[in-house]
Symmetry: D2
Subunit: 140 residues, 4 copies
Amino acid sequence: MSKVFGVEYPIRFSHCDPAGQVYFPRFFDLLHDAMEDWFNIGLQERFSDLLMRQQLGTPTVGTQCDFLSPARFGDVLAIELSILRLGNSSIELLFNASIEGRACLKCRHTICMFSKETLKSVPIPEALRARMRDYVVSAE
Amino acid sequence: MSKVFGVEYPIRFSHCDPAGQVYFPRFFDLLHDAMEDWFNIGLQERFSDLLMRQQLGTPTVGTQCDFLSPARFGDVLAIELSILRLGNSSIELLFNASIEGRACLKCRHTICMFSKETLKSVPIPEALRARMRDYVVSAE
Amino acid sequence: MSKVFGVEYPIRFSHCDPAGQVYFPRFFDLLHDAMEDWFNIGLQERFSDLLMRQQLGTPTVGTQCDFLSPARFGDVLAIELSILRLGNSSIELLFNASIEGRACLKCRHTICMFSKETLKSVPIPEALRARMRDYVVSAE
Amino acid sequence: MSKVFGVEYPIRFSHCDPAGQVYFPRFFDLLHDAMEDWFNIGLQERFSDLLMRQQLGTPTVGTQCDFLSPARFGDVLAIELSILRLGNSSIELLFNASIEGRACLKCRHTICMFSKETLKSVPIPEALRARMRDYVVSAE
């Protein structure tokens, strides 16, 4: 049985465009925040240490996002994160975001583990990988 | 005895610049978030309703900010908000932000209550004003 | 023979993350800027008038982006925009961005024409549609 | 006779809030962009090289900004930059921004020259300082 990591964020004034709705690039900020919290809380690995001390980065390789319904100023966005594919150095994440049960967006998002020293992708550290395994979606 | 509203926010990857520190305009996003939370929680007035339903805005008239020490990715920023001057339609806020007790910034920030219909400043609604009074700093 | 709309933007300090590279959500800001300039310059339709006067919006339906190589502070990003599919109310755009000839990202991005009054999608106004037709990629 | 550095930027969709006006922290992004262009064009010193190669930063010490009138989506913001005070390592800048001659904001903004290696403020390099001198406002 796989785990899903969930967080809730308020939609802020700063996220919204002249139509009073979330301007789509701000959704990606919110998805990144959810990923940071997943590392910090779900995986018990401080994301800032990973980058600033271990000199590992997690650049985005690609993203595919369907925007299903708008989010408005004052809404609370619930984001769920799981793993679709856990590769050697790459991780395909699945984000589902909703507002009071209404689907808001669905995003498949691939990052990779990257050494800021060698400027090359590197295998996910084994201890971290073991904790990630719990979040891999089983047999879709 | 005056009240102080306090919140804590994590410093996110998205706040930080190539030096690994908060890029100063992002501090203003965080101060605005604190003000939203003050309305929502401290004043028990949904900030989004104020803007979207009551058609009142709170444009910034002026801001004066001293940046005292850097905030870095992974830090937790504690923000305290109080009122320096409660005018008829304008409010001068005082923000003090710190990281583990170290002062990070101090900001005097003036907003005014504004009608989105008449496009003019309007008196702060009396019920809201009464709740704001608790946060006025007494005799500095 | 189809037209391609091209713009160049400097990579700003504000776009870059603690690794000194463009933080991926900022790329979407840059792609949106390119789309605005395409409306303003390429299509000779003021994008701000479309939204603020004609009460038409262009919400994003979906986006699919491959990040091929990093962009760094001080680089100049060249963005090319064309149309993959011109529907009744939806438009699938293709963005290719590069730095001195090196491919940086490729994005398929679908927007739709939307009435802010009826809150429904509407056909692209015919005069605008005629000008868009020049940018449709011919026989891939 | 002192020089004034001027730039013009379009107000973008991404700068604007649910009231259709520039959200005030975005003005600081625009002022920083103007400062970058001043270094690059006015001072003939690539700002990105200063930071990434010479390991010098220009952190903001303080800012004081009066917002005089709103800027709206589709406006063109004209920013003028000059120097109020050229210290040993600190520089007090004056920004005046306007839209078609209407004053939009006035900002006094102090940065300092900072070594990313020693993490201390350092004197402004003499060649750069000589070029900055032209922009010092004479006897106000």
